[in-house]
């Protein structure tokens, strides 16, 4: 009886195995196409409710991926903005260099002391680069200051926002001359003095170097007029300027290799000896 049962199991197993092999071969030969279509249909119906879960899981994965991408793109955008700004500044400087009637030396501002008490700047050009005491330092916006100290590699610049800074200036539209100085009211505000009250000035007019002091070449923009006040008890007016060059954001600049006319200097010395 047991042998019969074992034989039955053997036969059954053999039949099933042969059936399985037949299915494999028929599948390979395309004999089960209809059954495969039916099974795919059934499976699709069964999996349809679960597709929502898969979509949700995929959405979570996509969300994480997009979040990471967003951070990377924000970072890249920030860097591109910085590069764009630097590019604009460098282009302006390049144009300035090409337009300037005097040879200029490109420099980088390596240190700033703009606390207000004794404002100074340090640039990475010294005597080896052609920098000399007295030369003007400008950028594409306008006058920054004047070199007051140099060594072989670096120079110290007296910016316009220093209480000892003075420059002979003119209002471009009227040819009225005066002296620009810093009145310590704000870091970017200057004062233009010694212009007679008889000369009519307007807000927004441009003030630039006059060239009369024999220290700066003429025509370097300094700032624009933002306020005009008549001087008390005197015949001149006090003019408030806003400097064009922003000392806080300036990172690159040019030294204007303007050398004072020696004949004029000799004449001034002779005049001082006379009086």
């Amino acid at each position: 009886m047991r042998r019969l049962s074992d034989a039955k199991d053997y036969i059954l197993t053999a039949i099933l195995l042969l059936l399985a092999i037949g299915m494999m071969i028929n599948r390979h030969d395309g004999g089960l196409q209809n059954a495969r279509k039916a099974s795919i249909t059934v499976l699709s119906y069964l999996e349809q409710p679960l597709s929502v879960i898969r979509v949700y899981r995929q959405a979570l994965t996509t969300n994480t991926y997009l979040h990471r991408q967003n951070i990377q793109l924000q970072d890249e955008l920030s860097r591109l903005r910085s590069v764009e700004e630097q590019n604009r500044i460098l282009r302006d400087l390049l144009e300035l260099r090409q337009d300037s009637p005097h040879p200029v030396i490109p420099v980088r501002i390596v240190a700033k002391n703009l606390t207000g008490l004794n404002n100074t700047l340090t640039i990475d050009a010294g005597t080896d680069d052609g920098a000399e005491v007295g030369m003007a330092v400008i950028n594409s916006d306008g006058l920054i200051g004047q070199i007051i100290l140099t060594n072989r590699s670096f120079s110290q610049v007296l910016p316009y926002s220093n209480s000892v800074f003075r420059v002979s200036a003119t209002v471009a539209e009227t040819r009225a001359y005066g002296i620009v100085s810093w009145d310590a009211s704000a870091l970017d505000e200057l004062q233009l003095n010694h212009i007679p009250q008889t000369i009519s000035l307007e807000i927004g007019q441009t003030v630039e170097t006059s060239g009369f002091s024999n220290q700066f070449p003429p025509g370097i923009p300094i700032g624009e007029i933002i306020g005009i006040q008549p001087g008390d008890g005197i015949e001149t007016q006090t003019i408030q300027l806003r400097a064009y060059a922003d000392l806080f954001t300036a990172a690159e600049a040019f030294i204007v290799t303007f050398e004072p006319d020696s004949l004029i200097q000799e004449l001034e010395l002779e005049q001082q000896e006379l009086f």
Partner: protein, 147 residues
């Protein structure tokens, strides 16, 4: 009904829960369990029925039928003999791992011989990871059932 339920769970749910492209095999666990409950002939028939549906739903026509029927045919005597004992987790784990390895070996051989499937691509995941995965699932179900 249990067979159909196991096949549906396998085809719809467990098929998507993969580790290193390996999936656990609930239908095999069902086949091993059925070996401890019914005589050999019935066990082979029920397993064949479940394996056929599994093949149909996973488009692996004949592979599961062949390997599962052969596994049940070989292991039925051993499983039915030892079913009277109560097992610890690791014992169940080892038994299921051995059975799963045997099943997956048959599966691999027959799929390689048929030449239709890229069996060499899944040899490690099939013989190793899937075996362990199925053994872990079997041990877990044993723990749940015993409590």
């Amino acid at each position: 009904m249990l067979a159909i339920g196991a096949v549906f769970i396998q085809a719809v749910l467990l098929r998507h829960l993969t580790i290193f492209n390996a999936e656990s095999d609930l239908v095999l666990l069902f086949a091993l369990w059925i070996c401890t409950k019914v005589p050999k002939t019935e066990a082979i028939l029920i397993t064949a029925f479940a394996a056929f549906f599994q093949d149909a739903l996973t488009d692996l026509w004949g592979l599961n039928l062949f390997s599962k029927v052969l596994t049940v045919f070989i292991l039925h005597n051993f499983l039915s003999r030892t079913s009277e004992n109560s097992f610890l987790f690791w014992q169940i784990f080892l038994i299921v791992a051995g059975a799963s390895f045997l099943h997956n070996l048959f599966f691999y051989i027959v799929s390689s011989l048929s030449g239709v499937f890229a069996s060499e691509f899944v040899v490690i995941s099939l013989l190793l990871v899937s075996t362990l995965f199925t053994a872990i699932l079997g041990g877990f179900l044993h723990l749940v059932r015993s409590r």
